[in-house]
Each structure stands twice: as C-alpha cells, then as structure tokens.
Amino acid sequence: MFLGTIVYALVNSVILALMAIGFNLTFGISGVANFAYGALYIFSAYASWMLMNLLHIPYLPAAVISILLTTLLGALMYRFVLLRIRGQVLSEVIATFGIGLAILELFRYLGFVGFEYTLPVFIDRSFFIAGTYVDMQRIIIVIAGVLIVVALWIFTHHTAVGLAFRGIAQDERTALSLGIDSDWIATLSVSFGAGLAALAATIIIPLGSISPGEGYDVLIKALAVCIIGGLGSTGGVIVASFIIGFAERFTDSYIGSHWTMIVSLAAILIVLIVKPSGLFGKQKELEERI
C-alpha cells in the first residue's frame, strides 16, 4: 500500500502542477491573477467534447483546436477587458472571476451536466507498478508534466519572447526602456496561461468527467499551489504541488478521503502564517512591508 500511495501521490502532484502552472505563468509575468483560469480549463474540455460529438472530429485534432481556441479566448479577454483595468488588482480579480463565472454557469444553464461529458483516454492500458495498477493515462500525465516544465524552461531561457516574459516579470519599466511592448507580452502571458490550462484539461479530464463545478475546483487548487509555492515562482509551484499532492494522497490512504480537502486548506493557512509570501515567493514579507 505504501509504494502504491507513493505512485499515486506522484501522479496527483503532477496533476496539481499542471493545473497551476498556467495560472502562475500569467501572474508571474503580467501580475494578473486570472480567476477565470478554472473556467478556461473547462471551456477547453467542453470545446473538445463538442468538436468530437457534434462535428465528429477525432480527439487529437479536436484537442488541438480547443487548445488554440482557449488560447485565443485568453488573448481576447486581456485585450478587451483586462487591458483597460491593468494594474487595478481588485478590478482584475473581479473581472476575471466574473468572466469565469459567466462561462461556467452558461454551460450549466445550457445543460452540459452529466457523466456523458467526458474525454477519452489516449491509450487504454494499465501497468502493474510498485504493487499497484496504474493506467496509461496517469503515466502520460507524469511524462507530459515533465515535458511541459522542460519546454517552459527552454522557452523562458532561450527564446526572444521567453526572455521578454522574464524581463517584464522582473521590471516592466526596464523592459519598456529596452523596446519591449509590455501590453503585448502581457496579452501573450494571459493567452499562454489559458493555453496551458487547456493543455492540462486535455491530459487530465479523461480521468474524470467535465462539469462546471470542476472549474471552481481547478481554480481553488491552482490558487492553493501558487499561494504555498509563492505566486510567480515556477520552482515554488512544483515544490508546492508535491507537498499538497503527497499530503492529499497519504491523508486519503491513511486517515480518510474526507480529510484531503482540509489538508490543502490547512497547508495554505500554515504557509500564510509562517511565510506570507509563500515558500519561494518574491513578495515582501510582513516586516519589510511595515
């Protein structure tokens, strides 16, 4: 049971990292806390479902189209709404949460609720690993998680746009003085974040079903991971995902499944009390702010 718990904790950690990495990327670069993140995740899943079931497009192209559509939606959201309220943190939170609420509740209103709304697994096989059966989709999730983190590192360290992302994240005025268009980079950061939410949905949703409620769960999980890791820190997101991922699985296996949500929330509270900026956060600590 112990080894099996470790295997599932590892998968759970990667799922959390995938759910949070897009939210973190957007916040780290543009400073926008995109509270529509969970809704974009669900939007992409419903888009794939509709393309497959209404237009009869095979899953892979449907997934690619829905990822592109979600990326575009993120960009439009920034250009037409967030650009006008840029820098007003509370307004950004309310606007993005409002957009997210509208998307999720529209799907609920249109009747997209039920177990039939799901996406197929990529390969229907399972393996016996460390004394437990692990299905291929979970293995794909772990591999995809590693690949996405590596790809993001290469992108942010070795491409012009990636370097511009890091420049804006560190000092917008300096970036502007070097000819970087901060609004364009912020648009890209929100759309990339949306695209990563869609990619995560494509890989993770086949484990369960699509529902508006899942959008809220994803947002809460992304927030939990980012707050614990430190908003804007990719390393922090990965470490926090593993802390919560392992804590949840071990709680589930050894204490009881109804305690798992409490573990995440308790972890947020403890980190906020001990280190308000998160484990790897770059925000000023309380003593420095006074």
Partner: protein, 250 residues
C-alpha cells in the same frame, strides 16, 4: 524646427496634480551634440527625460525626434525609433546574469530592424559590449547575477544596455551618481568614445566638473523652467543659475 535638429522640445508642460514639474520647456539638440541637463534636485530633469522617452505624457507641448512627432508615444515605440535611456536608480533585471541582461536589448525590435534579421552570436556580442564598458572578461563578472553586482558595475551595465540598442540619441540619467572619482574617471573615456562615434547624448548630472569637460552645451532647469542655455562657462556665470544653485542674489 531647425532642419538639422535631431530632437526638438517645444513648449512642454507637465503637471502632477497641483505640482508644475515642467513649465514651458523648449530646447533643441543637433546630431552629434552632447547636451548637459542640469539643475538643483527636484527641478524637473528626470521628468524631462520621462517626457522625451514616453514614460510620462506632457500636459501640453510637442516633442519631435528626427522630424517625427513623438509626443505621448509609448516608451517601447520611442526606443524603436532610436532613443535609449538609462535610469537614475539603476534598473537591471536583478535575477538575470549581467550578460543575459544584455541579451534582452539585443533581441529588441530596434536591433532586429538595424541588423536586418542577422544578429550573429548574441552571447558573444553581449560579452563584447560589457567588456567595452569595463566588465573584465577574465573575472567572469559578466556571468554573475545583477543582484550581486556593486553599484559601479550596475551603472556600467545600464550604459551597456543603452549602447546595445544602437540608438541615435542616448539619454544618461545621473550615470555618475553613487560612483567614486576613480569610477567616474574610468567611465568618462567611454562616453568620449561614443561621442567620437557620432552619438548624440543628453546627460543629466550633478557632477558638473566632469560633465563640463565633455558637454558642448548645457540647459539649466529650476522649478521646472529653463533658466539658462549655452556653453557651460557662460551659463554658470548667469545670475539666475548662481541663485538656483547657491541660493544667493547675484
């Protein structure tokens, strides 16, 4: 506007609420000229730089660069036209090594435009530029994060980033502040070399002795207004300038 003027500032005003930061400011700058912008603290020098570089918009007046109206244009667009600036309070990307700080301007649309899409090895160009401004290549200073570099290196890095943009006009905001006499003495030849290469430069300085060694002309501001303009030896004899600096009636 004089046909040869690279930059023309005409009747520019800037208010911050009830504070008149710049008032009816006008001056011109010819290609290849080094203009000193001086005045007591709070006289509007940095606001003037921010107005020219688009970081703040004028309340009134116009600014032309190479005959083009750049009034209120976004800062990144002004950079692309060929104006580069440094900041009084240095602004490196602290979490990046010094040479990576250079890679960002080397990737900028301005450089892309000038290089016709051919950049060469950016790391090598970055290291060469840093060496030009005094980073010792053998000591690996260029590979250290900006967060651990002393002020002297950060000022040099600030200058190198501006040079990397291959601008037609460079605005150096208090480049010498916080530096020792020896450090200033080592940076002066770099600026003189830029001048020999035909660069047009505006320098904001409090280190007047060093500035007057290299400036063709100075503009003196006080309470946001231009109170004198001309060669440094003439300007410093002006009653208004003496009063502004020394607080005494001439």
């Amino acid at each position: 506007m004089a046909p040869s003027a690279l930059l023309q500032v005409t009747g520019v005003y800037k208010n911050f609420g009830g504070v008149q930061a710049v008032s009816d400011l006008s001056f011109e700058l010819s290609p290849g000229e080094l203009l000193g912008l001086i005045g007591p603290n709070g006289c509007g020098k940095t606001t003037t730089v921010n107005l020219i570089t688009g970081f703040v918009k004028p309340s009134q007046g116009k600014i032309f660069f190479q005959g083009r109206n750049i009034t209120g244009m976004a800062p990144h667009k002004i950079v692309r036209l060929g104006i580069a600036r440094t900041f009084q309070m240095v602004k490196p990307f602290y979490q990046l090594p010094a040479y990576k700080n250079m890679i960002i301007p080397l990737y900028s649309p301005r450089v892309k435009q000038l290089a016709g899409g051919k950049y060469g090895d950016r790391d090598a160009v970055a290291l060469d530029l840093l060496e030009e401004v005094g980073f010792e290549r053998d000591a690996y200073v260029a590979y250290k994060n900006a967060s651990v570099l002393p002020q002297g290196y950060l000022k040099r890095l600030e200058l190198a980033k501006a040079i990397a943009l291959q601008p037609d006009l460079m605005i150096l905001d208090e480049l010498f502040s916080g530096l020792s006499l020896a450090e200033v003495a080592s940076i002066l030849p770099i600026i003189e070399k830029l001048r020999q290469e035909g660069k047009t430069i505006i320098m904001i300085e409090h280190r007047l002795k060093e500035l007057f060694r290299i400036a063709d002309r100075v503009v003196v501001l006080n309470f946001g207004e231009k109170i004198a303009e001309g060669p440094s030896n003439v300007v410093m004899e002006s009653d208004a300038v003496k009063k502004a600096y020394l607080g005494v009636e001439a």
